[in-house]
């Protein structure tokens, strides 16, 4: 069953719609209005799920001028650009995407510098994801040869954080 109208559908109405469907043979319902598409589906055990899609563009900017952002949207270090410069060194990647920090807290000395000796369990950086600090372990034994992102930079999960001259 599918229908398009401009009736004022609200998410508060979902429970009532499901109550009506429950007593019907329908397994799925899709309703689209100007603002909202609602998809209801009956699961194997009889429970219903709702999916929404709210139409339309992002809200317009408020009429007054917005304050200018600092403009320093951190560039995202991507894996590809680093991979091209591959020179046989081992790489350290983050456990998660997030914000790269070289020191445990502002003002503290960095975990490692270029030339630092590391073992697989050595913490070389932290990545902050969803307000949690995740340690980055070296993963190999060797010597830090390069540190790629700047402190405080946003990094993807596949970014290369550091290169390590691994012990042979």
């Amino acid at each position: 069953m599918s229908t398009t109208t401009d009736l004022p559908l609200e998410l508060e109405d979902v429970a009532q719609i499901v109550a009506i469907l429950d007593g019907s043979p329908y397994q799925r319902l899709e309703i689209a209005t100007d603002r909202l598409t609602l998809k209801l589906a009956r699961g194997e055990d009889g429970g219903w799920t709702q999916q929404w899609h709210h139409q339309g563009e992002t809200a317009p900017a408020a009429n007054a001028a917005a304050p200018s952002p600092a403009g320093n949207t951190a560039a995202t270090a991507t894996a590809q650009e680093e991979e091209e410069a591959d020179d046989g060194l081992a790489v350290i990647r983050p456990p998660l995407p997030g914000t790269f920090y070289r020191a445990p807290q502002p003002g503290a000395p960095p975990f490692v510098e270029i030339g630092s000796r590391v073992e697989p369990e050595t913490v070389v950086a932290i990545v902050e994801t969803m307000k949690l600090m995740n340690p980055v372990h070296a993963g190999v034994s060797g010597e830090i040869a390069a540190i790629l992102p700047a402190n405080g930079e946003m990094i993807d999960a596949d970014a290369v954080l550091m290169r390590v001259r691994a012990d042979s």
């Binding site: 979902v14 799920t49 709210h54 009429n63 994801t129």
Partner: protein, 445 residues
């Protein structure tokens, strides 16, 4: 009447505020970071202002930038949501100085309860019982306090909140090291190294009272139980708090109202108590001077829209409700759906939600800003939505929640839904009245 409301928050609470404001005919302006430009709240708001880059410190937490954005947008009021700047007295003052209404308590109330030690003194002055303990400026003072409190004890950051910086110490020989660490962490996290030491109640429940005040009068909207926590972060909340004898339950509600009246509280607030799970003795912990994540369970059993109440009170109106107008019906439970993999030590799971099939049906409410294709950025907390169910009684609500969780179908990121299924099936939870150690006893994975 407030005509244009600036919303200084993001995620599900931004959407929650937008919905009520729009229903009341109030125009909404949302301040967003670059990471949230395409979020559902940004689509739903009447207009939007870019605050700055994704990191909160340069957007949602930047007092000057948020105030200027609200002022420039022509807003006459600012709703801070929860977290971010919601309990920041400097922010509340700056909003007022810019000629706008801060939807929250007066700045002096934020000062009075924002600092745990001050809040404790206010609680004592209002005649509320508090947990034995006190401030410790250094390890020697902590040792003296420990003699009063006994072990185990808790070390808390004076300026802390949300469980951050809290440490449990079981043995005297661990005290010095833990105090040093707590002070260093408190300094790093809150810019304030002060800590205090208090008795650890072995079987404690976290019970809170929702209050509303207009500066002169105050009422309660009943209790919530938030005892199911991990590392002091709430996972499941319910209303009313189950299994508390009615005389103690009434004493709790009255104590919440007494504190709100004592400080002439304006707006919606929550008075938190530690309740001994065996004796039902209770101790005032702190007051949260804002709307809370778990407010929908109170709305579910009272039929009161707490955001609407906040806006009416902020508008300068006397309390729209009298105590006898608040009627309680049924039992409600909320579970927080976080983008975390609980089988991997709650590892964060940001990313794109390929499919967001939220449960639907009678007695089910979803407060979420995430639809299929929605993005969960790595910069903010992991809450992607709240599933709230209401039943005729607690057993009905637990069964309904279990069925709703079974139906829920979210893919693309890991969520805590499987953990909640486990909790709903746990005989201790089904029986009700669990203490804050519940989570330790929940088998993982």
């Amino acid at each position: 009447m407030i005509r244009r409301l600036f919303i200084a928050n993001r995620g599900e609470i931004a959407l929650r505020v937008i919905r009520t404001a729009q229903r009341l005919g109030i125009e909404t302006v949302l301040g967003v970071s670059e990471a949230d430009r395409d979020s559902l709240p940004a689509k739903m708001a009447d207009s939007m202002v870019l605050l700055g880059p994704a990191p909160s410190s340069q957007s949602y937490l930047d007092v000057d930038r948020v105030v200027e954005a609200a002022r420039a947008a022509g807003a006459d009021a600012v709703h801070p949501g929860y977290g971010f700047l919601s309990e920041n007295a400097r922010f509340a003052r700056a909003v007022a100085a810019a000629g706008m209404i801060f939807v929250g308590p007066r700045p002096d109330s934020l000062d009075a309860v924002g600092d745990k030690l001050k809040a404790r003194a206010v609680g004592v002055a209002a005649g509320l019982p508090v947990v034995p303990g006190g401030e410790a400026a250094d390890a020697a003072e902590a040792r003296r306090r420990a003699e009063e409190t006994g072990y185990p004890l808790l070390i808390k950051a004076v300026s802390g909140g949300g469980g951050r910086g809290m440490k449990r110490v079981d043995r005297p020989e661990d005290l010095d090291a833990q105090v040093a660490m707590a002070m260093a962490e408190a300094q790093a996290a809150f810019g304030d190294p002060r800590v205090y030491v208090e008795r650890f109640i072995a079987r404690g429940r976290h019970v809170e009272v929702q209050v509303l005040g207009d500066g002169e009068n105050a009422i309660h909207l009943g209790t919530r139980d938030c005892s199911i926590q991990r590392r002091f972060q709430k996972l499941v909340e319910e209303a009313p708090a189950p299994g508390i004898p009615e005389d103690r339950h009434k004493a709790l509600r009255d104590a919440g109202v007494r504190l709100a009246r004592h400080i002439g509280y304006v707006g919606a607030g929550t008075v938190e108590f530690l309740v001994d799970a065996e004796s039902f003795d209770f101790y005032f912990l702190e007051m949260n001077a804002r709307i809370q994540v778990e407010h929908p369970v109170t709305e579910a059993i009272t039929g009161v829209d707490l955001i609407e109440q906040q806006l009416l009170i902020a508008d300068g109106q006397p309390l729209p409700l009298r105590q006898e107008m608040v009627r309680f019906s049924g039992h409600a439970i909320e579970v927080r759906i976080n983008a975390e993999d609980w089988t991997r030590d709650f590892r964060p799971s940001p990313g794109t939600v390929a499919h967001a099939g939220w449960p639907a049906g009678a007695g089910i409410r979803i407060d979420s800003h995430i639809e299929s294709g929605g993005h969960v950025p790595p910069h903010y907390d992991s809450l992607i939505g709240k599933l709230i169910v209401t039943g005729a009684d607690r057993g009905d609500a637990v069964a309904r929640m279990a069925r709703a969780l079974d139906a829920m179908d979210i893919s693309g990121i890991a969520t805590t839904a499987p953990m909640h299924r486990r909790i709903m099936a746990d005989p201790r939870f089904v029986a009700g009245g669990v203490d804050t150690r519940f989570f330790e006893g929940l088998a993982n994975g």
